[in-house]
């Protein structure tokens, strides 16, 4: 008998008392009661608690804010679907910031990613209560690796994509897309439970919320 069939048989034999699956109660909070402003404030509070840098700016100022944050960086990587308008001011800085685009046609190597100063991505949705930003691999967020290898991740998030509780975010996500949920920068508490930011993932997380 194959291992699969044998394990299946063992399971069925173990369950020969035919346990009945209980009704699943779902009395926990599944939708928001907060206004947009409250959700934004809560998310900012949580992100700051995780030691992320948070900036709330009007949507029209996205490009200027990005250029400001990138002053001093010599090279950045962006996914091919990042909104063009966000990059306008950065492109004007040509010569100071080298911009590399990761796309299905031209995937940057790990070495190339390791050499850049920062990555800029969008986000799919964010959960205010837990301070979690979710990337789902769509063109504005790119492959999982681009937001992992560079030491600084600048993430632009539309205020309308902030939900209050986790179930609201889950309802918006496409389950089979490769996802990365980020709650603050890389951190460890393995040494005497003292939290240290930055081990292997990006050590700096900047979140720009476009209001």
């Amino acid at each position: 008998m194959s291992a699969r069939d044998e394990v299946m048989n063992r399971i069925k034999s173990a369950l020969r008392d035919a346990p009945v699956a209980p009704e699943i109660p779902r009395n926990y909070r599944r939708d928001s009661h907060m206004g947009a402003g409250q959700r934004l404030d809560l998310l900012v509070d949580r992100l700051v608690d995780y030691k992320a840098n948070v900036f709330v700016v009007p949507a029209a100022d996205a490009s200027a804010k990005l250029a400001e944050l990138l002053a001093g960086s010599s090279s950045i990587v962006v996914p091919h679907g990042l909104p063009e308008s966000w990059l306008a001011a950065v492109k004007n800085d040509a010569g100071t910031v080298r911009l590399q685009v990761d796309s299905p046609e031209r995937r940057l190597t790990v070495e190339e990613l390791d050499a850049v100063d920062a990555v800029v991505t969008a986000a799919a949705v964010a959960v205010a209560e837990t301070g979690t930003i979710m990337l789902d691999g769509s063109p504005s967020q790119g492959r999982r690796v681009i937001s992992l290898v560079p030491d600084r991740h600048i993430c632009l998030l539309l205020a309308q994509d902030i939900v209050e509780v986790l179930p609201e975010a889950i309802a918006r996500l496409e389950p089979t897309s490769p996802q990365t949920w980020i709650s603050g920068p890389s951190a460890t508490s393995d040494i005497e439970l003292e939290r240290v930011e930055g081990v292997h993932g990006p050590r700096t997380l900047d979140v720009v919320i476009l209001n």
Partner: protein, 507 residues
């Protein structure tokens, strides 16, 4: 295959590997209790996590509702396990993943080894995983000439020190910063000799040490926190980004997951991803969670394998009362609140799974007749703190008592002459059956004082009680019992006494 079992009911097949303790709990606990450094580190760590957990749990008005949902979802998972496994398999496979089944530790190790050998590589990077710990994968790979590098900081510390993890969540909880610094200086090539014991510096050293490995690794091995049947999705929850490195950079990813780790639907993740981080690290959410479903073209590993592991899980499932132990999501909340764990540490439990959950899960998976594990159900004060802390409401004390009963039943047949315990119980029965019996015994109290000597502690009791005094002292008994004192104070006609007591009636 249908959900109904048509074959011959089989006897449970128990698990192997690191599930079995190498020595019984009482023996190991005695040694660990002598380690005051360990106890100090542990006491600090568990108290810190306990406080953090309570704080973030109190933030949520619906915490108890979520525990109820979590518990019901897991019960439903176990009840429907065959169908859910088939659903998971179909969804994972249709998206390019390959599933392998392993009856036991040996088979799982062989599958993983063959998969690595097929890539031509002799090195793998590893994400912290209880399942691979359980099957002893690293040691097995080493025998086959494959080096497995642990990448979680705590696992790295433990691996570099040739030690064993002592906690599910914080495997190096038993080591402090200066011990870790010494390990790094001794074991890491290229380490800065001026390395300080500042945790930030130590983490930096680990980053440097592993960076090249990550960027060049072709094969990674991971565990999984959840497998979602509805979509065929796997999930890994972590903090440092080492998980993301392993799950994203290599060409080949091999995941080992116990068959019990399924959740029926993607939606169920909304419950478990709230229960897990708050219960384990006391955070609202862990820094990183990765989700993948088979292969995503152009993103991440293109050869994706999953080994579905039994290794005693079906034996645990066959125990009607014990099967709830399989609901465990390995958050470690139960060990952080356990007074026994806090004093003995994780090593004392011997098996991969320490603490209260280990005390039930390990003997369920190996069988209570396993000599090494049959003392585990007694490694508890039955205070119930683990039950209160458990996010999926596993009634650990109830299962402990059930397993103690099983243990007694399994040994009963073998015992011919009455044991010391039997005699003591007989004696106790006689003593407590009547006040006058008790009174007679209490006349012996001053004797206890004599035994204790001048420092008023008894260091060693004879016979079966010796085990109890081997790891602790007991204060000498008082020279008179409460009953004797009461009788004296409440003599007929005494001013304070509410009335007389008749010996032997109101004990």
């Amino acid at each position: 295959m249908s959900n109904t079992f048509l074959g011959m009911p089989s006897l449970p097949v128990f698990g192997s590997g690191n599930l079995n303790a190498t020595e019984p709990f009482p023996k190991a606990a005695r040694r660990e209790l002598a380690n005051t450094q360990l106890r100090a580190n542990l006491g600090h760590a568990t108290a810190t996590i306990r406080d953090k957990r309570l704080k973030v749990v109190a933030e949520l008005p619906d915490w108890e509702d979520m525990r109820d949902s979590g518990s019901a979802i897991k019960d439903a998972t176990m009840a429907n396990l065959p169908a859910l496994l088939e659903q998971f398999e179909a969804n994972f496979t249709v998206r390019g993943g390959v599933i392998h089944w392993a009856r036991d530790a040996q088979e799982a190790n062989e599958i993983v080894t063959a998969l690595i050998q097929a890539t031509g590589e002799s090195e793998v990077v590893k994400v912290k995983s209880m399942a691979t710990q359980e099957i002893g994968l690293n040691e097995y790979l080493q025998e086959q000439g494959i080096a497995a590098y642990e990448t979680d900081l705590a696992e790295l510390i433990v691996q570099l020190d040739h030690d064993k993890p002592s906690h599910i969540l914080v495997p190096a909880i038993h080591k402090n910063r200066s011990q870790i610094r010494e390990i790094f200086l001794r074991e890491m090539v290229d380490v800065d000799p001026g390395l300080s014991d500042d945790p930030a510096r130590l983490a930096e050293a680990a980053r440097k040490h592993l960076r090249k490995k990550f960027l060049s690794a072709k094969v990674a091995v991971s565990g999984a926190n959840f497998g979602l049947a509805e979509t065929g999705t796997l999930t890994v929850v972590e903090s440092e980004g080492n998980g993301r490195m392993c799950l994203t950079l290599p060409e080949t990813l091999i995941t080992v997951m116990g068959i019990e780790k399924l959740l029926p639907s993607f939606t169920d993740l909304e419950v478990f991803m709230q229960l897990l981080p708050r219960s384990s690290t006391g955070e609202r959410m862990n820094p990183y969670t990765s989700l993948w479903t088979g292969v995503t073209p152009g993103d991440g590993p293109q050869n994706v394998h999953l080994v579905m592991l039994d290794n005693g899980r079906t034996a645990a499932l066959a125990d009607k009362m014990g099967r709830t132990a399989l609901n465990c999501i390995r958050c470690s909340a139960c060990m952080n609140v356990c007074p026994v764990y806090e004093r003995t540490g994780g090593h004392a439990y011997g098996s991969t799974y320490p603490g209260p959950i280990g005390a039930i899960l390990s003997p369920l998976m190996t069988g209570i007749t396993s000599e090494e594990n049959n003392s585990l159900p007694y490694a508890s004060s039955l205070c119930g703190a683990c039950y209160d802390a458990c996010p999926v409401k596993i009634n650990i004390p109830e299962v402990l008592v059930h397993l103690r009963g099983e243990d007694v039943d399994s040994t009963r047949g073998k015992v011919k002459v009455p044991t010391q315990m039997d005699l003591m119980m007989k004696g106790a029965q006689w003593a407590f059956s009547s006040g006058s019996h008790l009174n007679l015994l209490e006349k012996g109290l001053p004797l206890g004082k004599l035994v204790a000597g001048r420092n008023k502690v008894i260091k060693k009791l004879p016979g079966i009680a010796a085990g109890w005094t081997q790891s602790r002292d007991i204060p000498a008994p008082p020279s008179q019992s409460f009953r004797q004192w009461w009788a004296k104070e409440h003599k007929p006609g005494s001013a304070v006494g509410p009335g007389t007591t008749t010996e032997g009636e109101q004990a």
